[in-house]
Symmetry: C2
C-alpha cells in the first residue's frame, strides 16, 4: 500500500529503485569499457551476450509497474523540494517513453541494429554503399515507425533528436544551419585565400611513451582527478563514467601524427571533468546525469578548441613541448605551431575536420537524416546524394564510399538525430566560453600560465552540478542570459581565423 | 502451462534461465577483476554497491518459483540424456539450497561479512587479535546458524565444507589429517637433518620486466590461450573466468624474490587451463562449472608443484633462466637451484610454506574451524590457541597476531570449510599426476624438453571436459581407479624430499 507511506519514504523507495537500475547500467558500462580496452579476442561473443542480458534486466526494471505507480504518486507532490520534484518529473517522462516501446519493437530494433552494423562493416570492406543499402533502408523504416510511437510536433525528426537533445527541433536546427551556410561559407572563402600553414612538423616521429606522458600531464593539469579515473588505450578514444568517482577516458597514439592523441586527450578530458563534476548524491537520478549530449559535447569542445587550441594555452604548454620533442619542434616558433594546429581546409572525413568546416559535415548529415525520415530523400543511391552535398558545401569530390557515406558508424547503430548535437556542442561552447571570459577577467592570463583552475571553477559552478535539472536551453539562458545564439561561435571563429 | 511444452522446449527454457543467471554472475566477476586490477582508488564505494545490486539480482533470479517448477518438472525425466539429467539434478540441488536461506539471513551474513572484513583490516594494522574477536564471534554464530539451516549428518562442519567440496566430511578429513600427522611429522624430522639448501641467490635483484616476460612465456608454453585470456598485475594473484573463452590470471612481482612471481604464475596458469578446458556449450550449467574447489586446486598444484618444481621441468627451463639472469644464476648449478626451490622448513605464514609443512598449516586451521563450529574451541583468546597449535605441530613460536591468527582473510569473509580444499587439492594432484605418469610413459621426458602438451592433453581428456558431472571422488575413482588416498602424496613427497 504505497498510500500508507510518507512522502520521504516513497522518495527513498524511488531513489533505491533508480540506483539499482543505475548499478546495472553502470555494470554494462564497465563491460563496455573492458570490451574496448582489455577483452581478449575470443571473449567477444560471450561478452555481447552478457551485455544483452544486463540490458534486458535494466529495461525490465525500468518498466516495472511498481515504479510507474510510485512515480505517478510522487509526481507534483508539493512536499518534495525542487530537485526532488525535477527528478520525479524527469524519471516519469523517461519511464513513460520507455513504456511506449512494445517489446517486439525493442527486439526488432536490436536485431536490425546488429544486422546493420555488420552490413556496414562489410560495405566498408567492399567500399560499396550498395552492400549497406538494404540494412539502412530497414533501419530508416524502423526509425520512422519509432517517430510515430514516440509522437512529435511539426516534424517526425523532432521525435528522434529529442532523444539526445531535449527541446531541440527542426525549426531551431534549420535556423542555426542556415546561419552556418550564410555566415561560415564566406568566412571559409576568406580563410582559403590566406597562405597555407606549414604543417609537416606535426607528422614527424613522436615517441609513443612521451606522447602518453604528455596526455597524462595535460589531463592532470586540467584538473581531471586520476584517483577517480584513469586513461587507457583503445581504437577509438572515448569517455565512460560508472559514477562521479570512476570516470575513465581512453586515447590512441599515432607516432606519426602529433595531433591525434593530444586533442583527443583534451577533448575526452573535457567530457570526463563534466562527469566527475556531477553531484554524487544524485547518483542514479536525473539530476545526477548530464543535461544533454549537446551540453556534454560543449564541455569537450570548450576544452579542446576554445581553450586547447588557443594561443594562450600553448604559450604555457609549448616550451615544455619543445623540450620534450626538440628534434621535431626545436626550430618551430610558437606562432607557426599555433597556425599549424588551427589550419582550416575542406576535407572528406568529419572526425579529422577543423573547427570551421566541421559544421558543414554535420549540416550535410542533418539534412540527409531529416530527408530520410520525412521521405524526401531516399536511401537508394544515397552515396550519390552524399557526394552531391559534399561538392556543393565543401567543394570536394568524394572519391569512394568509405570516404563518403560509409565513414560514420552512427546510422548503422540506429543513431538518427545524434549528429546535430556535435554542432550544438561547439556553439554552446563558444557561448559559454565567451561568458566565462567576461565573468572571469583573469581567465586567459591563467590559461597562459598553465593554470586551468579558474576555468574549471567556472564550469563547476555554472554547469556541472546541475545534471539534468535544467534543459540545455534553460541552462544556456541561466548562464549567459540568452538562448543559444550562433553569433557567439561566429564571433569566436572570425576573431580567431580571419 | 509448462505441461504443454515438450521436454526439449522445457530444457531450452531451463538453459536460457541458467545462462541469464550466469551472465549476471560473470558480470560480477568482471567488476571484481576490475576492482583488483584497474579500479581507481575513489571508485571502491560505488563499485561495492554495484556488485551488491548484481548479487541480489542473481540471487533473485536463482530463487524464482518458475525456475523451481521447471526443475521439478524436468527432474528425472528419462527423455533427457545423462548430461542433461545431471545438469537438472545439480541445479535443483543448488536451487533448493539457495531457497533455504531466508532473505534476512542473507542480508545479515552480508552485513556481518562486511563488518568482519573491516575489523580484520583494523586488527592487522593494530597487530591485535582482540580488535577482530567480536566480529569473529558474531561470524561463528552466524555460521553455526547456517549449519542448522543447511542441515548435515554427523557434524555441523560437514554442512560448511560441503559448500566447497561436495562429499567431503569430518570423517574423511580426520582420517586424512591423522595421516598427515603420523606420516609427515617423521618425514619432516628426517628432512630437517639434511644440510640446508643455499637459497640466497633467489633473493638477489630480478628485473621486473624480465620476470613479467618469463611468466608470460611459461604460461604460453603451458598451453594457456592468450587469445582467450590475459595476465595483469594485482596485489594478490588470482584466476577469474567469465566463460571458457575469457579466463584471466593476475600475478605480482617482487624484484627481490624470484620465487614469488614464478610459481604463482604457474599455479594460476593451472587454474586457468582448467577453466579454459571446461565445455563451452555447457556455459551457465553445472556441467560447465569446475567439479569442486579441491579439484580446482589439484589443477593449480599439479602444475605448480608436481610439474613446476620438478627437476624435469627445470632441466628445460633453467638454461634459459640462466641466460635471462646471468648475473644471479650464472654460477648456480641446476642441482643447487632445484634444491633451493624445494627447500623445506617450518615457518609462520601459510602462503609462503613449502610443499610439506603447508599441510600442517591447513590441519591447524581445520582443527580450529571444526572446534569453533562444534563449540569445543572458543573465539576468546583464539590467538593463544593458534599459537599453541603452531608450537605443537610446527615447533615455531608465533611472535605476533598478524603473523598468527590474523594472517588469512578467509574467516573475515565467512569462508569456513574452505581451507581443507587446499590440502585435498595437493593430495588429488599427487594421485592424478602419478596416474598420468603411469598412463603416459613419455610424460617426464616431454616435460624435460619443454613440451607440456602431453600433460595438458591428459588433463583435457580426463578432468577438464566433465565439469561437475562427476563429484571429486567419483572423478578420482574414474581416473585413478581408487578414491582419494594420502599414500600418493606421501610416496611423492618421500621420493622427492628424502
Amino acid at each position: 500500500m504505497p498510500g500508507s507511506k510518507s512522502t520521504a519514504e516513497q522518495y527513498a523507495d524511488y531513489k533505491l529503485k533508480m540506483q539499482k537500475i543505475a548499478d546495472v547500467r553502470n555494470a554494462i558500462a564497465v563491460l563496455g569499457w573492458d570490451q574496448e580496452t582489455y577483452l581478449p579476442e575470443k571473449g567477444a561473443g560471450f561478452r555481447g551476450q552478457q551485455i544483452t542480458t544486463l540490458s534486458t534486466i535494466a529495461h525490465e526494471l525500468f518498466t516495472e509497474e511498481d515504479l510507474g505507480a510510485l512515480l505517478q504518486d510522487l509526481h507534483g507532490n508539493p512536499a518534495l523540494d525542487s530537485v526532488q520534484q525535477k527528478n520525479i518529473a524527469l524519471s516519469l517522462e523517461d519511464y513513460e517513453k520507455n513504456k511506449k516501446y512494445p517489446a517486439s519493437l525493442v527486439a526488432e530494433i536490436s536485431e536490425a541494429t546488429n544486422q546493420a552494423y555488420h552490413a556496414w562493416i562489410k560495405a566498408r570492406k567492399a567500399n560499396d554503399y550498395k552492400v549497406f543499402e538494404p540494412a539502412l533502408t530497414r533501419m530508416v523504416e524502423l526509425k520512422r515507425k519509432e517517430t510515430a510511437i514516440l509522437g512529435y510536433t511539426d516534424h517526425p525528426y523532432n521525435a528522434l533528436v529529442n532523444e539526445y537533445e531535449k527541446g531541440a527541433n527542426t525549426t531551431m536546427l534549420d535556423t542555426i544551419f542556415a546561419e552556418v551556410k550564410t555566415a561560415l561559407s564566406p568566412l571559409l572563402d576568406k580563410i582559403s585565400q590566406q597562405s597555407p600553414a606549414k604543417r609537416d612538423f606535426l607528422h614527424l616521429h613522436y615517441d609513443r611513451n612521451k606522447q602518453w606522458q604528455l596526455g597524462i600531464d595535460i589531463l592532470k593539469e586540467m584538473g581531471y582527478d586520476m584517483k577517480a579515473g584513469r586513461q587507457d588505450i583503445s581504437e577509438h578514444p572515448f569517455t565512460t563514467s560508472f559514477n562521479p568517482l570512476d570516470v575513465r577516458v581512453t586515447t590512441r597514439i599515432d607516432e606519426n601524427d602529433f595531433s591525434n592523441m593530444t586533442w583527443s586527450c583534451i577533448h575526452e578530458g573535457g567530457h570526463a571533468l563534466y562527469e566527475q563534476g556531477l553531484p554524487q548524491e544524485q547518483y542514479g537520478l536525473p539530476c545526477g546525469e548530464a543535461a544533454s549530449l549537446g551540453i556534454h559535447e560543449s564541455q569537450s569542445r570548450l576544452w579542446e578548441n576554445n581553450a586547447g587550441r588557443s594561443l594562450a594555452f600553448w604559450k604555457f604548454q609549448y616550451p615544455r613541448l619543445q623540450r620534450t620533442f626538440p628534434e621535431n619542434l626545436g626550430n618551430v616558433s610558437l606562432q607557426d605551431f599555433y597556425k599549424a594546429i588551427n589550419h582550416v581546409q575542406p576535407s572528406l572525413i568529419r572526425t579529422e575536420a577543423d573547427e570551421i568546416t566541421y559544421h558543414f559535415h554535420i549540416m550535410i548529415r542533418y539534412e540527409i537524416e531529416k530527408g530520410l525520415i520525412d521521405g524526401s530523400i531516399s536511401t537508394k543511391d544515397l552515396n550519390h546524394t552524399w557526394n552531391d552535398y559534399y561538392r556543393q558545401y565543401l567543394h570536394v569530390d568524394v572519391p569512394s564510399d568509405t570516404q563518403g557515406v560509409l565513414q560514420d558508424i552512427h546510422w548503422s547503430h540506429g543513431s538518427f538525430g545524434y549528429f546535430p548535437t556535435y554542432s550544438l556542442g561547439s556553439f554552446y561552447a563558444a557561448q559559454f566560453f565567451t561568458t566565462a571570459q567576461q565573468q572571469v577577467p583573469e581567465l586567459e592570463e591563467a590559461i597562459a600560465s598553465g593554470n586551468y583552475q579558474p576555468l574549471l571553477d567556472w564550469l563547476r559552478n555554472n554547469i556541472h552540478p546541475f545534471g539534468r535539472y535544467y534543459t540545455s536551453n534553460e541552462l544556456c539562458e541561466k548562464i549567459t542570459g540568452k538562448p543559444l545564439q550562433f553569433s557567439y561561435f561566429l564571433d569566436y571563429a572570425t576573431k580567431k581565423f580571419v
